[in-house]
């Protein structure tokens, strides 16, 4: 699994890490029981504070997305949670879009209509 | 490889580290020193050869540059003490060198640039003193080499006759005499941002005071300066006492009395160095 952080994103980094892990689970690039990079590995790779990575892993464990085996590391949980994770992910994407819309002075209806139009142009089918 | 618990450093290790680093910091100095020793060999060998031919010398010197001594000619003609001369001349050169040596020890590390040295896990004063002590050891080492070479050459060229007649204090003075100028200048180098400035300033002040008091006929001040520096318990005596009395035939302090003079001045300078190392000023 590849975890990347967007430097332009001002959300707390531990949340970004959590989202990345969830994304991998939902999209399918992370298998059940797959190991996550160690705290040390991820911290050095992404030039992050190890406490931040630690916090992300802790929260993920609390939510059941991952589980921890003492001395062996952190692993992805059974992927039955996909359903829940998809829901969460959708929420995050929607919130971001709505905020953006509001900042640009658009209403909810305008946004939905625009999304549909864009989907058409990009040939993305509904219910796909 | 095991790793130990952290903690401040013991003085032995500090001293050893300072000795090594002083050595490493003066690479070019080492080369110059070696060149000097070589020159010394050549000069002495040449000296011995000339005298071996029984040609009397008129006070012409072929040894390395030094301050001329009025009694040198006398010394040359006195006896077959060329070996002793070799030692004595080397002594004078080294005594002057010893005075300037602290500049080498503390190069580029005047107090405003001594941050690295002082940021080490060693008490500041102890660390500075360790550096001074390392300089002493280096100086003694150099003296040993120079005198050793001198005696060796003298032995080889068959001019060692006079060496046996030298007193213990002479030998002692050869080694500890130069330590006085070293210690004196160390006080300045440890404490001052611009030691050369203080040096010249001090000399200038002395000269000024001396001149003024002479002009104004205030005998006391000039006399005082004379006593302090050249009197029988003066600084000069502490440095050269036995050397000048036995080699140059001057009526200078020798023997046990000289030792007392030396100890007095050394104690004074040591106190000065410790005080200098304890100071915390704006740039320290």
């Amino acid at each position: 699994m590849i975890i990347a952080i967007d430097p332009a994103d001002t959300r707390p980094i531990y949340l970004q890490i959590m989202d990345e892990v969830r994304r991998s689970v939902v999209v399918g690039t992370a298998q059940a029981d797959e190991p996550l990079p160690s705290v040390r590995q991820l911290a050095s790779e992404l030039r992050l504070n190890p406490n931040t990575v630690q916090q992300a892993y802790r929260e993920l464990e609390r939510e059941g997305v991952v589980y921890v085996r003492r001395g062996r590391g952190t692993f992805v949980s059974e992927v039955e949670t996909t359903e829940r994770e998809r829901f969460r992910l959708a929420q995050t994407v929607a919130e971001r879009a709505l905020r953006n819309a509001y900042r640009n002075g658009l209403s909810l209806d305008e946004l939905i209509a625009a999304v549909r139009r864009a989907a058409e142009e990009m040939n993305v089918e509904e219910n796909s | 490889m095991s790793v130990n618990a952290p903690g401040p450093l013991g003085w032995r290790q500090v001293f050893a580290a300072q000795l090594k680093v002083c050595f490493l910091r003066r690479r070019r100095g080492q080369a110059i020193f070696l060149a000097f020793v070589l020159a010394q060999v050549v000069a002495l060998a040449g000296f011995g050869v000339i005298l071996g031919l029984n040609i009397s010398i008129d006070g012409e010197e072929t040894t390395v540059a030094m301050a001329p001594l009025e009694n040198l000619e006398k010394a040359m003609n006195v006896s077959a003490e060329q070996a002793v001369s070799g030692l004595a001349i080397a002594f004078h050169i080294m005594a002057v060198f010893a005075f300037f040596f602290p500049f080498a020890i503390w190069s580029n590390e005047q107090p405003s640039k001594r941050g690295y040295h002082w940021a080490m896990p060693v008490d500041r004063r102890t660390h500075d003193l360790a550096r001074v002590a390392a300089g002493v050891v280096m100086l003694l080492g150099m003296l040993t080499i120079v005198y050793g070479v001198s005696m060796l050459v003298s032995l080889v060229s068959g001019n060692s006759a006079g060496l046996g007649s030298l007193s213990l204090t002479f030998w002692l003075a050869l080694f500890v005499g130069p330590l006085l100028p070293y210690a004196l200048n160390s006080v300045l180098l440890v404490r001052c941002e611009h030691p050369a400035g203080w040096l010249w300033g001090g000399l200038g002040a002395l000269a000024l005071i001396s001149t003024f008091s002479t002009v104004l006929h205030v005998k006391g001040v000039t006399r005082l300066i004379e006593i302090v520096f050249a009197g029988s318990w003066g600084l000069l005596q502490g440095i050269v006492g036995p050397i000048w009395s036995e080699w140059a035939g001057r009526p200078t302090t020798g023997g046990a009395e000289w030792l007392g003079v030396w100890v007095l001045w050394m104690a004074l300078f040591v106190v000065g160095i410790v005080v200098a190392a304890s100071a915390r000023t704006r740039s320290r």
């Binding site: 911290a43 504070n49 406490n51 | 790793v3 130990n4 003066r26 580029n108 896990p121 060693v122």
Partner: protein, 308 residues
């Protein structure tokens, strides 16, 4: 009510704690009653304009400079009384690379340095040297600033000190080198229990690493807070209001930076993201966006704010 930006970060053991630290050089006030608190295990980013007192602060922590008044506690002990013992557990990279040891090669300098630290880990030193691409056999005085910095970093990190004091650690390094240093610092923080206090101008580099921010200006600590606290409460608000809109003094006091152009407002203000839109609405301005700030943006806002 002015926002209190200087927090004492209590509740955890402190690696560094100064009380009303004051220092002047002649008539120049370098530090003015600074209450710095650096929690153990944190990566504390110290920012401020040139001459703000950052280097003086670091120097005071290693007892190179004695304060005129105020107390300094480092790793639980007095910086001046227990100086040597404390410094044995500190890795210090000063701003300068010129400290009179130019004739030694890098290898000799590192060797000399290693003798002073009982906890020196030679294997780690070697690894760091390789990772940082240290040029060992060149005279230290002949190295470029970046190359010299690399050597200094090996010297500071190799004995795994409990406290790292880094004054512009990436100064002189090329982009790859800077990135490598950050990688090494992250790895070091993850593998050795340590507190890192970094003084820097290049804040964006530390976006990932920093978890506390301290800002000095003219010798005074004008801000000190945890990253999360900062992120949760310091916001950039873009709003719309009628021309000639005058905010209440309360609202102005909460703000750090205010920009207005025509109907548009662009403020940096302290407050909860949920509460801000209604506060502005209450005064007749419509909030379009409330955005969190990253460390760099927050620093700029803090250093720009008016402080009395």
């Amino acid at each position: 009510m002015r926002p209190q930006l200087v927090k004492s970060l209590n509740g955890r053991p402190m690696a560094v704690s100064t009380r009303a630290l004051t220092k002047s050089f002649g008539s120049q006030v370098a530090l003015d009653r600074v209450d710095l608190t650096v929690p153990e295990g944190s990566i504390y980013v110290l920012v401020g304009p040139n001459g703000a007192g950052k280097s003086t602060t670091l120097n005071a922590l290693v007892d190179l400079v004695r304060p005129d008044s105020g107390g300094i506690e480092v790793l639980g002990r007095s910086a001046s009384e227990a100086g040597p013992a404390v410094r044995a557990e500190i890795g210090y990279v000063p701003e300068t690379t010129d400290f009179g040891y130019g004739k030694l090669t890098a290898r000799e300098l590192i060797d000399h340095h290693s003798r002073y630290f009982a906890a020196w880990d030679a294997a780690y030193a070697e690894q760091l040297g390789a990772d940082l691409e240290v040029v060992y056999d060149k005279r230290f005085g002949k190295l470029s600033k970046g190359q010299a910095r690399r050597v200094q970093l090996v010297m500071a990190l190799a004995h795994r000190p409990r406290l790292l004091l880094l004054d512009e650690p990436t100064d002189g390094l090329d982009p790859l080198g800077r990135d490598r240093v950050l990688e090494i610092l992250a790895d070091h923080a993850a593998s050795s229990p340590t507190t890192i206090l970094v003084s820097t101008h290049v804040i964006h580099e530390l976006e990932g690493l920093g978890d506390c921010l301290g800002a000095l200006r003219d010798g005074r600590l004008i801000a000190q807070l945890e990253r999360d606290d900062l992120g949760d409460h310091l916001h950039r608000v873009r709003a719309e209001a009628a021309e000639g809109w005058t905010p209440s003094s309360d609202l102005v006091e909460q703000s750090l930076v205010r920009k207005a152009s025509g109907r548009e407002l662009d403020w940096v203000i302290w407050g909860d993201a949920e509460a801000l839109p209604s506060r502005f609405a209450h005064e007749g301005a419509e909030v379009r966006d409330v955005a969190r700030l990253n460390l760099e943006q927050a620093t700029r806002a803090i250093l720009r704010m008016e402080v009395n």
